[in-house]
Subunit: 414 residues, 2 copies
């Protein structure tokens, strides 16, 4: 790729062509658009608008009704299923709570927080049963972390059309709660404490075993997300949050922490959430979500015109901060460094951007993330050379987008 | 105040008393709570929960129905009015879009983004009329900034009961958009350009003059807030965002930028949004919101029990980063440094926290912010010694909370 594709730093005009086109469209375009364009006064300036407080809890504009969670169609049941965040419609790094991805194993319970209790027992000096008020009296912390399902996507799911279809089981929020270590100190760990078995108060009683080292490190018990209390879909009134670990370990609707010497070997860490390798053995306890990235604009089902535009997307790593993101606009022949939006936060989504001038020639674009450990997001071929094709979880391969002669963007795997 | 009030750093137990009390309450408490406490299985674990995707755009739990925008009662009209963020119910630094404060001057217009246009004219080389698609093609940025109404509170409003009543006209979000400077470069400024007059597409055609230096510095044209598109209440589909400046200058529903040599002297910068001083003169163009802070927990209408708890709240400054927050728990006789939640961001809300053991003695607590310029948030007496009592805007005085013998928290001014 020639360096001509990059706008020179001193270039001051991005849309000269586009703006002219817009003016032309206005001149001969639809009468309704013309009537709304200044200096004409649109009809919404001629009448009083809606009252202050007409929505005491606000909603998006009716013109954004299509920006919703991506729910799979035609399932036999929807209590053990997932819905995805519409990544291609979002900007920045935060996911609004209303669009945060879902994965439930027994549906969403309707929990009265005044009646909810957390029991801490097993290998502790003093078993505890805590109310939500008790938990909110502990010293608190807030952190922006991503959360991602380990099957994002499964290895068979690379046939989706949109960024959401492919990797929409990742979202990011500011979480507030108390360090799990602080609450464990209140109970007092016995010397042989090695694991903590967390149980949710949902109909699946979802159960996962967490190594004690993670519990004493950055694990949180969270009750708030993006400022307000957790939504029911995210574990209201209380969940574990294990930064960088596969999502289902951050047990929602948390009601029990059983401190043990051995893991529970629950359903969700034996028959599920293990990785079948080419030699027939299964990897177990593959907690950390490795570095990944996705271009969200332009991405599948969008259509672009030749000219200047920005390539932008998201990168993240369960190992820490993103160090860099590289972008190819020539099918992987060459790669250029994207700009990362500051602040780049530990185990948070990181927004990357690269200016690009598309000359109208069909091509393939892709991004690859590099995290602070130096790990580079692999291609699908490199990943499957090690992992084979029997796995379902922990597919963090590069996602290519194909751009056709008409500017239509499609899944580069399909 | 004795240093005994501070838990020593090595203290491992915070709730020993509280947890014991909870256990006692459980033993003899309401039967329904006991039935929900582990090891008993609550009824919400015995039936399947709600389906995945039952809310394609989610809502908070029904148990949080009281956490809503604080709308004044009994006004004659609600198109020029405000509603406040329930700060006392929130954690972290971000405000959910549904609870972001409102201030409208002609109601909330219902704008079709496909028909919305931004005109840039006046002292420019090339006047432009841009569509939303045009604006989204420019290079973008995301930043977390607070936004605050200049009348937060007015000088007469110190009789409110809650943190929201007093300073709920401040909120914080991650904003995404394009630098105003980038769009102005596309139009090309003429040498005598000194101000830009921004006009909203609401029924008030709200108009404010912005100094060209701010326009060429950190001013943004934003289309997204906390990941998703702006809500109608926040200017959908486009607003100006002037970090650190009084809120109404960040003109919503932006339709026009008129580049001029002089300010417009609009209603909102002459008869309103000026500060009448004791000598009868009026300060004009007081753009920057000075450093301020508020303790949100414990705060007005809450009730606390003796024992350990955390004092937490929010601080911010239109001049840049918060350098420190000091807290008094003895009516201002002594002050201690609170801990600031990292990362401390430029012109964003900053969460502060201080561990505290309340011994049950009536007292008054308060916080004061210090920003990166060294400016210290003043007491109400210090502020009014300079400003007098004829002003309405730019009251950034310390807010004291009185704690009664029964633990009830009330407005320290009342």
């Amino acid at each position: 790729m020639s360096r001509d594709d990059e706008p020179p730093p001193a270039r001051r005009r991005f849309l000269a062509q586009g703006a002219a086109a817009a003016a032309a469209a206005l001149a001969g375009g639809p009468a309704r658009a013309e009537e709304a364009a200044p200096p004409a006064v649109p009809e919404w300036m001629k009448i009083p608008g809606a009252d202050v407080g007409s929505q005491t809890y606000g909603r998006p504009s009716r013109f954004e009704d299509g920006v919703i969670r991506n729910v799979p169609q035609g399932l036999k049941q929807y209590i053990s299923a997932s819905s995805r965040t519409p990544l291609q419609d979002l900007d920045g790094i935060l996911t609004p709570n209303g669009l945060f991805y879902e994965r439930h194993h027994g549906g969403i319970p309707d929990i009265d927080p005044a009646r909810h209790r957390l029991m801490i027992h097993g290998l502790v000096e003093t078993p505890l049963i805590l109310t939500m008020e008790d938990i909110r009296r502990f010293p608190s912390e807030s952190h922006i972390y991503f959360l991602e399902c380990s099957g994002n996507p499964g290895f068979e799911a690379i046939k989706g059309r949109t960024a959401s279809d492919l990797v929409g089981l990742v979202s990011c929020a500011e979480w507030t709660g108390v360090r799990l270590a602080t609450v464990l100190a209140e109970a007092g760990l016995k010397p042989d404490a090695r694991w903590i078995v967390a149980e949710g108060a949902d109909a699946a009683a979802l159960t996962r075993s967490i190594p004690i080292a993670k519990c004493l490190d950055d694990a949180l018990l969270v009750y708030s997300q993006n400022g307000e209390r957790l939504r029911p879909q995210q574990g209201y009134p209380l969940r574990v949050l294990l930064p960088g670990y596969e999502g289902n370990m951050s047990v929602k609707w948390l009601r029990r922490l059983n401190v043990t010497a051995e893991p529970a070997y629950s359903r969700e860490e034996t028959s599920k959430y293990t990785d079948l390798m080419p030699d027939g053995t299964a990897r177990q306890f593959t907690f950390v979500m490795e570095a990944k990235s996705i271009i969200t604009r332009p991405s599948g089902t969008q259509r672009i015109a030749p000219g200047f535009r920005e390539i932008t997307g998201l990168a993240w790593s369960g190992r820490g901060r993103i160090r860099g993101v590289q972008i190819s606009t020539d099918g992987g022949a060459s790669w250029r460094d994207a700009v990362l939006q500051e602040p780049v936060l530990n185990r948070a989504l990181t927004r990357f951007r690269l200016p690009w001038h598309w000359d109208g020639t069909p091509t393939t674009i892709a991004s690859r993330a590099i995290d602070e450990t130096g790990y580079v997001q692999p291609s699908f071929d490199a990943l499957t050379a090690v992992r084979g094709l029997k796995s379902f979880y922990h597919n963090n391969a590069v996602v290519p987008w194909r751009i056709g002669p008409d500017g239509e963007v499609t899944n580069g795997y399909a």
